[in-house]
Symmetry: C2
Subunit: 291 residues, 2 copies
């Protein structure tokens, strides 16, 4: 059994990106610049945006966080987005979700210039991704695809089960892995809350992507010997340790790992790959703009 | 066994649309207007555009076909699209594919105003459809969804197999049927040329959508008793009759129909529903514009 070490791979990728940034700067050009809009004061959002700033700093990107109070108006956000869309100095633009309840996330996301939409949430990018055109793929699926690629996981003709149909993980994963591409060319089944025979479907899978958000949902009896298991879930569960909690994935790691050929740990699997995928998208936006 | 009579249902829908158009005209407003761009002289394209004109006429829509020679330039097409995008008189705009080889279909499709893209091919519409937002859904999947709805076919929790992963049929069908909606909430598996155990997958399916373009691919031994079978294929096969050919679907109808609970015939199943779906999209574009 091989651990798909997202932490290690993400560090390798960050090193690659840093090298590219160094050569950009050496050629006299400004470094890529990621702008993040943060509205309200959700604790988790603060943490995520903090990580993104740190990651940018680590690879040599510039980053700017634009903070707005919870009471920010739709118009204020739209005019800020319009300014950032037009600014030559901004490479990529993300809006941290969730937004305050009175703001339509759909409208805000659709206002972002698709060429700067490094979160890959704009319908233009979703549509291009689904139809196999070049697009910004959202960070978690992009990170998983990259992780599979770096470990040269065989995918063509494999039976793949995606647990979960969310717009940010399950659905894009299913679309990507069924495409004529590598990683891809899988026979993909999407399971969700309405699926009746989930155990039976999983046990026939060569590859399982678990993205339900249900701690330790996938148990060893649901997994075929030699399956590849990708765990997207990450939930805090009370524990008798100094933090008072531990992080648990959608996969019961201790027993499933005994049957899997490859498996992602939680933490240290999909999480760091998601973080580095945003950096890769930002570099991609920078390079597309050059042309 | 019930035949899913696309011909009959499409006539009912056309009647509904005609009634709406009559009340539009009675209120003193102009009828919806579909514009089609036809470049080159592909025989099949001529036929399809002819059908579209006839269908528009039948329900009281206005229709205009803009013909260009095979030698048309990219710029000519783009400027015509721009004119039609801006014209208040044009409700919906379609570009008949394939285009002459020197023209990028991708670029032309992306030039269409998404609010007039009644073929549902623009990435914005694909992205919205995939994420469950209101969108123009391309004609074949939209027609199938409507047919399932009119026959009140149960879909929630059903195992559905989609044979084929094309951007205009298989992929949208898979995305629609896995959504939290009716018809939808299916556990969907997408099979394609790289799928290894297609027979085994099909035999466990409650619903099969066959869109491979392989005549009589789906045989009775691949179908569970009571399955719902939707046949998207339509191929001309040589035959000893006055036409010299007959139309054959992806399903071996005579034997599969003995096991199916519901089945579409070829012709007269998905075909007429595809045609009427374009009209429904055009009416939808008209009504969205009113608001």
């Amino acid at each position: 059994m091989v651990i798909l070490d997202g932490k290690k791979i993400s560090q390798e990728i960050k090193k690659e990106i840093s090298e590219t940034v160094k050569s950009i700067i050496a050629s006299g050009k400004p470094a890529p610049h990621l702008a993040a809009i943060l509205a309200g004061n959700d604790g988790a959002s603060e943490t995520y945006v903090g990580h993104k700033e740190k990651d940018c700093h680590e690879v040599g990107f510039r980053s700017t966080v634009l903070r707005f109070p919870d009471s920010v108006s739709r118009n204020e956000l739209l005019s800020e987005i319009s300014r950032l869309n037009d600014s030559d100095d901004i490479t990529g633009l993300i809006v941290q979700l969730p937004l305050p309840k009175h703001i339509s996330e759909k409208e805000i996301i659709e206002a972002i210039n698709p060429a700067k939409d490094v979160d890959g949430f704009h319908p233009v990018n979703v549509g291009k991704m689904v139809t196999g055109l070049s697009a910004f793929v959202s960070a978690t699926p992009y990170g998983i695809i990259e992780l599979m690629k770096r470990y040269a996981i065989e995918t063509a003709g494999k039976n793949c089960v995606v647990l979960g149909r969310s717009n940010i993980v399950g659905r894009p994963m299913a679309n990507l892995l069924s495409q004529k591409a590598y990683p891809g060319d899988c026979t993909v089944t999407v399971c969700h809350s309405r699926t009746k025979n989930i155990r039976e479907i999983c046990v026939n899978a060569d590859i399982i992507v678990a993205a339900l958000g249900v701690p330790e949902f996938l148990t060893a009896d649901m997994v075929k010997e030699g399956a590849v298991v990708i765990d997207v879930g990450i939930t805090r569960v009370k524990a008798d340790n100094k933090n008072g909690f531990r992080l648990v994935g959608d996969v019961k790691f201790d027993t499933v790992s005994e049957k899997a050929s490859f498996i992602t740990p939680v933490p240290g699997g999909v999480g760091p790959m998601t973080r580095v995928a945003l950096l890769k998208n930002t570099l991609k936006a920078y390079e597309a703009k050059k042309q």
